[in-house]
């Protein structure tokens, strides 16, 4: 591949920056363009930081994008794809991003890999690593068609330090709104960004009362970290807005402390790359 064009998209600016790191890694070796796509409603004021990390930033800001739907968003993104003809499309694998990547892959009839944690350049080709079998394994994969769509798990790459001076270009496109109506929105308390902290204290089912989370908060505060929950505490009891593990947040802090966490493989998959894992448990035989 010579002169590769990489298009990056995420609904979150901070995750776009993580994609910029990966895009830079590839363009540094192969030379090429790193382009960012920003689509949504009321977002055009927030894209300045992206121009410092990408060669070009395309912005599609429209009230018609107020209601999120992956197929609508993929169709809008398709306009930028047609315009820039990328070889690689990086999308951060959030719940929205993963679905947009998938829909785009169907629209373009090209391959897409989700749950990606690492991308390596081997003989000018990309070897893409993703979690496999519920996080138990790692799969090395290759996309055989172009463009290659890669959905990267948040937290897999750090923020970039490279400073660019990209151009921002606003695009107007026709948007076919989905025949879906939003009846109600109930915001979750947006907790601490778990995948950005060096220390994460995670509460598991062994924590019996919601009040006891305060002890964990105190510990996290001393260590300069944040508190998260395992899946049952978040999904079943609603103590935390999201959980650590598969289908929740993947973290790799310097220090992970699991309190009363039994260590289902889906949870382990989300913490495997932590530097130090400390588990506090009444049962020394638990999987964690």
């Amino acid at each position: 591949m010579d002169m590769v064009t990489i298009l990056s998209y995420s609904e979150r600016i901070d995750l776009q920056l993580e994609l910029a790191t990966l895009a830079n890694e590839i363009t540094n070796k192969l030379s090429g363009n790193s382009i960012s796509a920003v689509i949504g409603y009321g977002i055009k004021d927030k894209v300045d930081v992206l121009s410092k990390n990408f060669d070009k930033v395309f912005v599609i800001d429209s009230e018609d994008l107020k209601l999120f739907n992956p197929i609508t968003y993929a169709n809008v993104l398709l306009n930028i794809v047609n315009n820039t003809k990328p070889d690689i499309i990086l999308i951060s694998d959030t719940k929205r991003g993963g679905a947009i990547a998938s829909a785009l892959s169907a629209l373009l009839d090209t391959g897409c890999i989700t749950e990606v944690t690492k991308v390596e350049l081997v003989n000018d080709d990309l070897v893409i690593y993703r979690g496999a079998y519920g996080g138990l394994g790692l799969a090395q994969t290759k996309i055989l068609t172009s463009p290659k769509i890669i959905a990267v798990k948040p937290g897999s790459y750090p923020r970039p330090t490279a400073i660019k001076n990209g151009i921002i270009e606003e695009m107007k496109v026709d948007i076919k709104k989905p025949e879906i109506e939003l009846v109600e929105f109930r915001a979750k308390e947006t907790g601490a960004r778990l995948n950005e902290s060096d220390v994460v204290v995670v509460a598991g089912r062994g924590v019996k009362k919601k009040d006891d989370l305060q002890m964990l908060e105190d510990l996290a505060k001393i260590l300069g970290g944040v508190v998260g929950c395992s899946r049952p505490l978040s999904a079943d009891l609603g103590w935390c807005p999201t959980w650590v593990g598969m289908s929740g947040v993947t973290i790799k802090p310097k220090l992970y402390i699991g309190v009363g966490v039994s260590g289902q493989i889906q949870h382990i998959a989300g913490i495997r790359d932590s530097k130090i894992i400390v588990a506090i448990n009444i049962d020394p035989t638990h999987h964690i």
């Binding site: 998938s102 829909a103 519920g134 799969a139 109506e181 400390v278």
Partner: protein, 260 residues
């Protein structure tokens, strides 16, 4: 009286998946399979809708001969009809292929109001197939649904996203992908299991649904168990008098690792 098609996948039971300690390769040939956990909830949800509003629950799967078992399991839970598209090359199919085949089969079946899928499979976990089916069918799609009800010709679905719950209203026909939280699926009784095994399953080939062949878009080079070396230090704090000592040792160890 909605007709609901539920797309299911017979997956490797990852909880029982073992690997070779030396080669780090998974022992797939001996691995037990089961219907994906979220798909099972999609079946359960369809059955609950039928119990409330009437209609039919029709199961659809793409796979090899093993996949028939997913339909049997759905029958044991109470599903009405089952269709399996069987192909010997199934193991090589990618998500585009599977979604396209499902969409073709759904077109051929016709006469449906709602398609339910699990948002992700237990083994593959790519979350790609449901939205792709919607793209291929050109129907509205709602993802990560943890609550579902019908209102006349409309589906009211609660989508669970990172920032909050979005309650959508969409006219049927539509495609809905459900999460693990939507319900607790029933465990079938012996008599239901026995009845299920006597119920016919319609088997189609790719040709039967008008698919000439598939183009593969990506391939898996290798799947293995990544090695993580851990020190595995166990500190005993099982009694009050041991706690102080254990905590001190933990602090010392973390200092040594330059964590604190």
């Amino acid at each position: 009286m909605p007709n609901i098609i539920v797309c299911v996948k017979q997956s490797y039971d990852v909880q029982q998946l073992r690997y070779d300690k030396v080669s780090k390769q998974f022992l797939l040939a001996e691995a037990p399979k089961k219907m994906s956990d979220t798909d099972r909830r999609a079946v359960e949800e369809a059955l609950r809708i039928r119990e409330k509003y009437g209609g039919k629950v029709i199961i659809l799967t793409v796979g090899n001969q093993d996949s028939i078992d997913a339909i049997r399991q759905a029958y044991a839970m109470g599903a009405d009809e089952g269709y399996a598209i069987i192909d010997k090359d199934y193991e090589n199919f990618d998500t585009n292929n599977v979604a396209m085949i499902l969409a073709q089969a759904i077109r051929k079946m016709g006469n449906f109001d709602l398609v339910l899928c699990g948002a992700e499979s237990t083994d593959g976990y790519s979350r790609q197939v449901p939205v792709k089916v919607a793209v291929y069918l050109g129907l509205p799609f709602i993802n990560f649904v943890r609550e579902l009800r019908l209102e006349g010709n409309y589906v009211i679905a609660t989508s669970d996203y990172e920032d909050g719950l979005y309650i959508y209203r969409v006219k049927m026909p539509a495609i809905v992908a459900v999460t693990l939280d939507i319900n607790e699926p029933r465990t079938p009784t012996p008599s239901a299991i026995l009845r299920a095994s006597r119920k016919p399953i319609t088997q189609w080939t790719l040709k039967d649904i008008g698919v000439d062949g598939v183009k593969v878009h990506f391939k898996v080079l290798n799947t293995y168990v990544p090695e993580v070396r851990r020190k595995r230090i166990i500190l005993d704090a099982s009694t009050d008098d041991k706690i102080v000592n254990a905590v001190q040792k933990l602090i010392d160890a973390l200092r040594q690792e330059r964590i604190i």
